[in-house]
């Protein structure tokens, strides 16, 4: 119980000291040794999965507790917004849960602060169970070690609106396969519709630069490099699209939701998505669903982009063996497979993608999309560098916008973005 005296002490005594050492303090806790007995109470935090998958996670926890008597797992789920703020406060305050659902960009700062357990040390025997690409997506340039188990992967096709393609005089059965095709089709679409129908709804992000074949960082991971000729070329092409209204005029302020809605209301002709979206189209826009075309992600590198979710173990956990065992349990082949069957995501465990569920067609579009995605995932890449922070994303986005608006030349914009990101990288230390 807090006593007034304690409150006063907090106010008076620590007035100057506290802010400087409030974080990164060494309040005891865990070892990296995961070989002890699996027991104790641990907390597992997921990111916006409760609303739809409550029973799955309750089953998961029950299964683990049954397998390891003496363990107790408390599952908590956080809503979509503010996740980084929540983790920051917990990390700074020393209240981070034992096992945490993270994305690679969240892992990097936690690992640097010594809050993430190095799994190359603590969980090396499990490594062969996962796809190589997935395992290495939680490595951090400039550090040794891997800091999270790979969990589910996602990638998806490019949806397009066949009716809009036809109306623009494009062959609805021959969607663009290369960037050159895409840009040409988009310009024609804009011209034929008098700028009413755009083909793309989003400005290029760092992932788009990667897919276009731009080297994003130098080899050592100490500086960004996307201001090379290829990067400038991509941005210049996007500027042409923007001027011709082939890139939606509201793209500069678009969010994934708003661009999704534009595609849904047939104001935009193409949108990246996943198998999940098909059901949404069917329900919300039957007209669109009848005319939906599905094609592969466009890439110049031969590798499509994928998103990786991970499960991290807090290095300060009091029950390292149980936390590691649970993080592994959540991400093992069997549990990932049953999760994948509930929702359109893909397991990151080796061999799982060869399961008939991901290889055998049944004539439906959903299955076709799933099979295509599973095939492409085997060589997919998470283009977004793990060191690319929120602040860097904003810096890049804003410089790209300036170039599209014509306020800056593409080269100058990318130079500025690289300079800003390098500085932020240095400040991250």
């Amino acid at each position: 119980m807090p006593t007034p005296r304690r409150a006063l002490a907090a106010v008076v005594v620590a007035a100057v000291l506290l802010p400087l050492n409030a974080c990164g303090s060494s309040d005891g806790g865990g070892s990296t040794d995961a070989s002890g007995k699996v027991e104790g109470d641990i907390t597992f935090q997921t990111w916006n999965l409760r609303a739809n998958f409550k029973s799955y996670f309750e089953g998961l926890v029950a299964g683990f507790e049954k397998k390891y008597p003496g363990t107790h797992v408390k599952w908590i789920d956080q809503p979509a917004e503010g996740y980084a703020d929540k983790i920051s406060a917990d990390a700074a305050g020393g209240t981070l849960p034992d096992v945490v659902n993270v994305s690679p960009d969240l892992v990097a700062p936690l690992a640097k602060a010594g809050l993430a357990l190095d799994l190359d040390k603590a969980a090396a025997p499990y490594k062969p169970e996962y796809l190589d690409g997935a395992w290495s997506s939680h490595r951090i340039p400039g550090m040794t070690g891997t800091y999270a188990f790979p969990w589910y992967l996602n990638t998806g096709p490019l949806f397009y609106n066949k009716r809009l393609f036809k109306e623009a005089g494009l062959d609805p059965n021959k969607p663009p396969k290369t960037y050159a095709d895409l840009f040409a089709d988009a310009l024609q679409m804009a011209k034929q519709s008098n700028g009413r129908v755009a083909t793309l709804a989003n400005v290029p992000t760092v992932e788009d630069f990667g897919r276009y074949g731009v080297e994003l960082m130098n080899e050592q991971g100490t500086a960004f490099a996307f201001n090379d000729t290829k990067g400038i070329e991509l941005l210049t092409r996007y500027k042409e699209l923007y001027d011709a209204k082939a890139l939606d005029p509201e793209a500069l302020t678009a969010t994934p939701e708003s661009s999704g809605r534009k595609f849904l209301t047939e104001a935009v002709a193409m949108n990246p998505g996943s198998a999940l979206d098909l059901g949404n189209f069917k329900k919300q826009a039957p007209g669109l669903y009848r005319n939906i075309g599905i094609t592969d992600q466009i890439t110049s590198t031969g590798h499509v982009n994928m998103y990786v979710m991970g499960v991290m173990v807090n290095s300060r956990t009091k029950h390292t063996p149980a936390a590691v065992a649970f993080a592994h349990y959540v991400t093992d082949a069997q549990n990932q497979m049953s999760f994948a069957k509930k929702v359109a995501i893909f397991p990151s465990t080796a061999g799982s993608l060869d399961d008939p569920y991901f290889t055998k067609g049944d004539g439906t579009d959903e299955t076709r999309v799933r099979i295509a995605a599973a095939t492409s995932l085997k060589s997919a890449v998470n283009y977004t560098p793990v060191l690319f922070s929120e602040q860097m994303k904003t810096a890049l986005r804003n410089e790209v916008a300036k170039a599209l608006q014509g306020k800056e030349r593409p080269k100058a914009a990318l130079d500025n973005a690289v300079r800003a990101c390098d500085q932020l990288l240095k400040q991250q230390g």
Partner: protein, 302 residues
């Protein structure tokens, strides 16, 4: 003064008998054309202030087959349905979250009314050294940009062992500086004579506060209550950071689950916002009589 006395009896009594008299607060008749003008303006402003809410309500009542993007817009749903509300309730435990919000908001009302009244009374009535400094502390607190201090607040809360509790959610805003200043002004505007009489009768500070001062600022307390309820009910970031356990989540956090999960379903998001806003409007409707009186007491006067 004398002009006034002459004007008033000049009102034609015959007119009053002919038509139902519509009068202002001084019992003076309002002319017909002026009345029409006033109501026209009132309805125009009404459309502007309430229109967006009605639009949101209408969106939330529209079924999955109804076009919500059409032009011209349709305010009345063709087939009104509560289906979207049922889906919200299926997706998240709305009632549990609403109960938590109610606890937090209720506690916030009590602490703010009590704490601010005590502090406001001290600032307004009691003469003591350090009063200026205390007032300044509250004024400064009102100006602090909250966005910059949230992690420091969390660290403090953790040291008190109150993170992940509803008490931790309430505590930082439990006695708002703005509310203290509101009540200070209300107490200051009370005539001194009342309390002096009680003082002569031998009433101590506590008795004077409870029996004389407090009942006179009921209206301002209603204002504080509404503000406190609103503030606690609406807050998102702070409860999110303090709470970890979903069973303790408040409604604003809970409703955020709808975002990630049904990003493209305007109907569902609309239903969620209506759930969030309806209790506030209901509360305000109940308290509005006191509320407007409180404002009349000069609570918000400089």
């Amino acid at each position: 003064m004398s002009v006034l006395e002459k004007v008033r009896p000049a009102l034609p009594p015959a007119a009053a008998a002919r038509e139902p008299r519509i009068t202002d607060e001084h019992g003076r008749r309002v002319r017909g054309w002026e009345l029409v003008l006033r109501y026209t303006l009132l309805i125009a402003v009404l459309a502007l202030t309430v229109g967006p809410f009605v639009w949101q309500l209408s969106t939330s009542l529209k079924g999955p087959t109804e076009d919500i993007f059409g032009s011209p817009p349709r305010f009345l749903p063709a087939h009104p349905t509560l289906h979207n509300y049922a889906r919200v309730a299926d997706t998240i435990p709305v009632w549990d979250y609403a109960l938590n919000s109610l606890k937090v908001a209720g506690a916030n009302v009590v602490t703010n009314c009590v704490g601010s009244a005590l502090a406001g009374y001290a600032l307004a009535r009691l003469r003591y050294r350090g009063r200026a400094a205390a007032t300044l502390a509250f004024v400064l607190a009102m100006l602090v940009p909250v966005e910059g201090i949230i992690i420091a607040q969390f660290t403090t809360m953790r040291e008190l062992g109150l993170n992940n509790t509803l008490i931790g959610v309430v505590l930082p805003g439990s006695i708002g500086a703005m509310n203290v200043l509101l009540l200070r002004n209300a107490f200051r505007s009370l005539p001194h004579e009342m309390e002096e009489a009680a003082f002569v009768d031998g009433a101590n500070v506590w008795q004077r506060f409870l029996r004389i001062a407090l009942p006179s600022v009921k209206g301002t307390l209603a204002v504080v209550a509404v503000f406190a309820f609103m503030g606690a009910w609406d807050d998102f970031l702070w409860p999110l950071i303090v709470l970890s356990d979903p069973s303790k989540f408040t409604l604003t956090i809970g409703l955020n689950y709808l975002h990630g999960t049904f990003a493209n379903d305007e109907r569902l998001v609309a239903a969620g916002t209506i759930i969030a806003v309806a209790p506030l409007i209901a509360l305000f409707a109940c308290l509005q009589r006191y509320f407007f009186r409180g404002v009349g007491e000069g609570a918000v006067k400089g």
